[in-house]
Amino acid sequence: MEDKIRKYVEYHFRFKKGKEKDELVEEVYTNLLDRFNALKEDYGDEEKAYRETIARMGDFSKIEADDNPEYSLLPRVYDVGLIVALALSVFGLVAIFLHSSLAFILTVVSIVIFVASAYYIYHKAQYEKNVNGDIDTFHLYLDKSFSYLKTVFIFWALTFTILLGLLFAGIFTFMSGVNNAMEAFSSPGQLVLAYLLSFLVAAALIGGLFYLIYTKIMEHYRYISGKSHLEGSFQKGLGMLRLQRNTVDLSKAIKLFVPWFMLLIVVISLMAPMMIRIGSIRLVAEGPALTMMFELIQPRYFFSGGLLLIAYAFTLYSIINSIRHEGQKLFLVLISMLGTSAAFIIVDKIVDIVSDTRRLTYPSQPDSLNILIIGSIITAAYLIFLRIKGFSSRKTE
């Protein structure tokens, strides 16, 4: 019975650490043992005495919450720092569609905040180990700062890849000696190819760079922590800021995020300009794709605007469907976005033929077609990423 009481007390204070824990356990244990022996004499029944002893222990939760960093009621500054850095990295990526400078600034700020927080936590961890000899807290802090690394790295890499890709595409244009990106290419197909190439090169460069840095850092982590593997992420971070340790279903959360993100991209592409030039006269001046589509539903253009309309409708439908099914059927979303991009190109060609011009011009700002293509690339990359991770992402219902 002595062991049983001791085990109970030890379990009760399992979150406390160090010398303080040992003394607390010792004190409570001896007192409970004395009480148990007294009750055993009174009742003559060991089980009854044990139950009452445990019942008389009372509520230590206020003490338990005291210096356990995991149960701290207020988030520490560095916890907030890491989360903010993560949020900014996501916004940075999304901001690309608004303004590339904004995206760049947000990402840089995210990096700064992250580095500052992670650095602070890292040294706090070392302090706990070297000064207090507290290995458990050392691991706790270490894991905290390193587990965010993977996630923020991905977002930073994505943002820089796209920015660099846009830069390369811009260089293509510049080298052709024209102002307008679209005039640099003799066909929309070449344009798409050039953009794709730029992005692939950028992805290889940035991806390679970030991967290298990440591996180096994780090597260091493995060396100092003695652990071979670390579970990344969002999940842990969210759990730490909460009072109860509910774990967020990570795969579900991400799967739900992507369709909403895609919805945002499609809506932006609908608002973005789509300009068609007929001969020397513009059909309509730089209108948003939404209105242009309806302009093109005329017999003269073989109702090709209708094709675009249907393509967009189907894309929206597949995205909403994906949201309703919690991130499933993302492949269908990808197909529909690529289909809409293809529809754009087809409509293009039709208008081209009808109006008998050799070339078509597009505005050099990111326009509907470009946005859709970028969105498709991101979706495709994400699906590949899911595959590699081994989550189930189903192709059909």
Binding site: E23, L24, E26, E27, V28, T30, R56, M57, K62, I63
Partner: protein, 106 residues
């Protein structure tokens, strides 16, 4: 009897200091004494006792030390400090005053 317990709870510090002012003691012994003297009206849980002692120690009213018994068990003993004694005195005075005032009403 239950009301009594509630009334006494507000004076836990004073009671603990009072017990310690006579002699050093440890958790269970103190708890048992309170139970016996109050005829079971006042029963403290281990947690309440521990938090009270922690609080008193933080204020510098008691101090603690470890002592091994003959059976080899290590127990944490508490003893009252000079500051604790003076505090107890003022608490006693407040208590007597309060008692007089209440007595005047009932």
């Amino acid at each position: 009897m239950e009301l009594t317990g509630d009334l006494l709870r507000g004076h836990t510090d004073m009671i603990l200091l009072g017990i310690l002012s006579r002699q050093d003691s440890y958790g269970y012994e103190i708890n048992k004494k309170i139970e016996v003297v109050s005829s079971g009206a006042f029963v403290l849980t281990e947690a309440t006792l521990y938090t009270s002692f922690k609080r008193l120690e933080k204020k510098g009213l008691v101090s603690s030390y470890w002592k091994s018994s003959d059976t080899g068990k290590r127990r944490k003993y508490y003893s009252i400090t000079p500051l604790g004694r003076t505090t107890l005195e003022s608490l006693e005075i407040s208590w007597v005053e309060a008692k007089q005032i209440i007595d005047a009403f009932i």
